[in-house]
Symmetry: C2
Subunit: 205 residues, 2 copies
């Protein structure tokens, strides 16, 4: 693209570094900001800078937090012996939204993915193992997405936990509530039969 | 959405003010920035602030420019008597990319759209009329999109120009080069027959 303005070009270049934002979309967004009052650009840039500079990782669960210890870890009514292992804050938000979980979390910060150059040392796996070895945790729930990377990460952690005697589980995979069987994929349907649950359980929620 | 961090929430709120960016996409973009080195956020926010604070409108054509007079208006080899009326800088970039146009531009900054509260006074129509009345321009080419708003804007300017005796034209509408007739819409095909051009013209480019 041939810009008549260096300033515009730089702004578009920077905006198009964001994932899923191409040059055309970046130009559309930047032109939108130009049409808006100056305050909007200022608020956007301030919020981004402030976040980047001031945000913390909770020292217990590594979730994004404004404080040293996040609200969930600081809440005395949560079940401290139960830890759900997730990839990032979006998973924490999704599980919290269900209102069904009263345990703690451990945010890995990603999945093991050699293709993207992400190994175990870049994730918060070591602190998780250390927490388990401290002996306060009785069960680890794996809630990573069931992709190759997710399964690899689960298995790696599982292996590291060998000998600790801790109970491990994964969230149930199965047919979504309300879905038709005929449209379900075979792997999911197969697993939902293998891992069938007592009928009485389905009466509870 | 229920954020564990106010800082994160503010950044997502601001990001989702951009057109076409919902809360989920905003969260994805902000989390991406958090994973990148601090320099990236800094460069992005600096480029946006700098653009908003320092960018100018060319005093002749109202295009976005770093200087008082944009490169096109300042170029003595462009044909000063020919002015192409466009909506915004993206149209200027598109026409410049063709390499087929050597005249000047006039950037309106939008289209007349009562639905969005945009009237003639918010656009740079008055300066255009004044330029025409100065007498240096011999032809105005309308290159707005052929939507209701575009047609309204064209017609409004056309009416304002009545009595000045200036030549007006619009860019040709027709079947795209390489397109099959059977897939063309009727209006476009109809116009391309009504406004047919001498066969010799098609041999030139």
């Amino acid at each position: 693209m041939d810009f008549s303005s260096k300033l515009l070009e730089q702004a578009v270049d920077q905006m198009s570094q964001l994932p899923g934002i191409g040059k055309r979309t970046a130009l559309r967004l930047v032109l939108h900001l130009l049409r808006q009052p100056e305050a909007q650009t200022e608020q956007l840039t301030k919020a981004l800078s402030k976040l980047k500079l001031e945000v913390k990782r909770c020292r217990n669960c590594y979730n994004i937090s404004d404080t040293e210890l996040c609200d969930i870890c600081a809440n005395p009514s949560r079940e401290e012996e139960l830890v759900c292992v997730v990839e990032d804050i979006r998973d924490v938000m999704a599980i919290e939204n269900t209102g069904q979980y009263r345990g703690m979390y451990h945010v890995l910060g990603g999945k093991i993915s050699p293709m993207d150059g992400i190994g175990p040392s870049q994730l918060t796996i070591k602190p998780l193992i250390d927490k388990v070895k401290d002996g306060k945790i009785t069960e680890i729930i794996f809630a990573l997405s069931s992709t190759m990377e997710g399964d690899t990460t689960n298995f790696y952690i599982y292996k590291q936990l060998e000998g600790t005697g801790i109970k491990t589980s994964t969230i149930a995979r199965g047919i979504s509530v309300g879905d038709e069987l005929e449209y379900a994929d075979e792997v999911t349907l197969g697993r939902s039969i293998t891992n069938r649950v007592p009928f009485e359980n389905s009466l509870k929620s």
